[in-house]
Structure formats: C-alpha cells, structure tokens
Subunit: 213 residues, 2 copies
Amino acid sequence: MEVKEISQAVIGRLPRYFRYLGELKDEGVERISSQELSELMKVTASQIRQDFNNFGGFGQQGYGYNVEFLYNEIGKILGLDKKHNFIIVGAGNLGRALGNYMNFERRGFIFRGMFDRNPELIGNDVRGIKVMPMEELESFVRENDIDIAVLTIPKTGAVEVADKLAQNGIRAIWNFAHVDLNLPKEIQVENVHLSDSLMKLSYNINRYMQENP
Amino acid sequence: MEVKEISQAVIGRLPRYFRYLGELKDEGVERISSQELSELMKVTASQIRQDFNNFGGFGQQGYGYNVEFLYNEIGKILGLDKKHNFIIVGAGNLGRALGNYMNFERRGFIFRGMFDRNPELIGNDVRGIKVMPMEELESFVRENDIDIAVLTIPKTGAVEVADKLAQNGIRAIWNFAHVDLNLPKEIQVENVHLSDSLMKLSYNINRYMQENP
C-alpha cells in the first residue's frame, strides 16, 4: 500500500488537533472553520490547512469542517481506531502513574502487564494488573501479543531490556529511561526525556531574565 | 544585555548534548571531535558545528572539543549553574514520581513544596516535603521565592491554578495537565502532554504496518 511521506513535525501536531476536536465534540460543536480553529489553537489558519492537506484536506466546504468527522478521521490516521496491548517495565512511581492513567484505554491502548526487578514490588496491584518479575518479561511479550512497552526504569539496564523486548517481537517502545535506545528501525521509539524538557524550561527562564533584567 | 536569537529547535537539542557530554565526562573522556560526537549521538557533524556556532563555537581546535569545558558551557547556557526553587501541584503518582527524582537537584532545581486538593493526601511526605493544602499555594509561592511550578493535576482546574501561580510571581510552569495554558508571555511554559507522545507512537506503529504488511 502506497503511503505518502508525512513529516514527523506534522505528525507531532496531529495529537493536539485531535485533543481540541475531542473537546469541541464533547461541547456539542458540529462545525468549525479553519479560522475559528486557528484562533482557538493559536496557530495560523494557513498552517492548519497545510497540515490537513497532507491527508486530503478533510473536505472543508466554505462553512468549515465537520467536527466529528474530522475528529474521527484524525483518530484513524493516528491509529486510535485499533487496539494496542501495552506493558509497563518499571513499577516505580512513574510506571504506576502511567498504569493508573485511564484515558489510555479510551484511546485503544490496553494495559496488560507490569514488570519490575525489585522483589518487594512483585505482586503489587495497579488497576487490576499484578506486578510480575523480570524473568517473565520475554515469554509474556511473546505470548500475549504485546505491541508497546513503556520503559520506566533507570538508564542502567534500559538498553538491555529494550534489546530483549525487540528480540521478542515488540513493535514500539515508549521510552522514559534517560538514555537513547539503539534499536532496529522496525521498532518505533518515542523518547520522553523529562530532564531534557526541564532543562529547556531553565534555558527559557534565564534567557527571559537576561533580556528583562 | 544583547542576547542572540536562538531557535527553539537548537535549544531543544542542547539538553541532549549536555546529557552525552556528562556521560563522557563521567567516563573520563577529556577531548572529543565533532566527528566522534556525531557518531555517538547519531547526528551529523555539520549539525553539531552549526548548533555550537550559535554560541561562538566553543573553541574546537583541530584536535576537538574539551569535554569538561563544553559540558560546563552548555550547562551555563541552559542556566543549570543557577538554583531554581520549584513546587509540585498535584500529589498523585506522577507528582510523586517527579518529586522523588533526585537528579533534578543535581541540575540546580530545588524541591520546596507540594500541594494537593485531596484532604487525604495532605501531610503525606515526599522526600522530606509534606503535601500542603491548595489554600496555602499562593502565599507559599510569594513567600518562598518559587520560580517553577510543576502542574500534575487533571485538566479541569489546571487553567485556574496556572492563573493563580502567574498572579503570585511564578516564572515558569512545567505543565503535565492535558490542556494548553494561556499565560502572559513573561511566564515560560513547557508542556509535556504525555498522551500526545503516545498518539505519535501509535501513528508510527500503524504507518510501519501499512508499509510492511
């Protein structure tokens, strides 16, 4: 199947459109023009039209976009109409926070298992899922059709765990470990390096203070 | 003071350089060429030189960069040589995960307070910090020289809390609430919308599956 090459910058903006459209839909809004969406989201209307043109434009017809149609179409593009089983490796606070976040289920991400190397955490319950020992990780991934692994472990060990997951058929890793993984290109990786984000904030604070002493 | 305009894309890459240089320093590496750094970080050497030229180039001298000097200089650019007091608003799993993350302290971010509206969480202890009720938030921010607020609360309420923080002198918000804040431009905001990142991963999984059926 031919798929048009879409830049990761455009892809990166789709979830935000999806989020805003979901809120409009929940508020009962049926139609919205690119101009109104532009004001709401604080991006230019031309950016919105350009982004949507990557996907055929979604049929803006003078009086604007149909909100529910647009929401559903962007959801399909994002693959949110499909179910993806995921596991969390690392049952610390961050792993538990993600395991407890119910909204993932609404988006088609089904929480199937949780793993930790700390014997004291084994058997703990996060939203009905018991924490399992690391020794069971590989067979669990193979036998339970797991697509996504969320890595919430320290950077030591993360590379090794990611390699094991890759060898056992994982499709994607959502990586919160403070290390860049180096995996075959068929494994999708999305890094969330929280410290990097905090450092960027620190830069912007200091820059503002220098410019406005 | 004159400050050269640097793109947010370059700023966004600095923390990753800082992270790699910190590891090289810890391993005792004293010098590194842009070529070696390029191979390690999997970005082109020309990208590295371009990025560094925004800050005067850091004195690459044929035999490469001095690792410790470069690490310290990038740290200063990121403002990591300064101390910033921060609080966490929202004492759920995510708030506790961030409060427990010791590395922030090493980067100059000092954990000063934690707040929640849930009476059952008041008084709970996270790394020596007791959770306080929301009623104390505004006076605490004013009286304790708080620069950064980490928002780990649901999206309902987040906009209102952010406005209160802004009125009481906060400089920056690290926003984990699933809503875009709308604050005066003197307040720096860094959004971490975790669901957006997961949706991007979902897109990339589905795209790969369509291209490789």
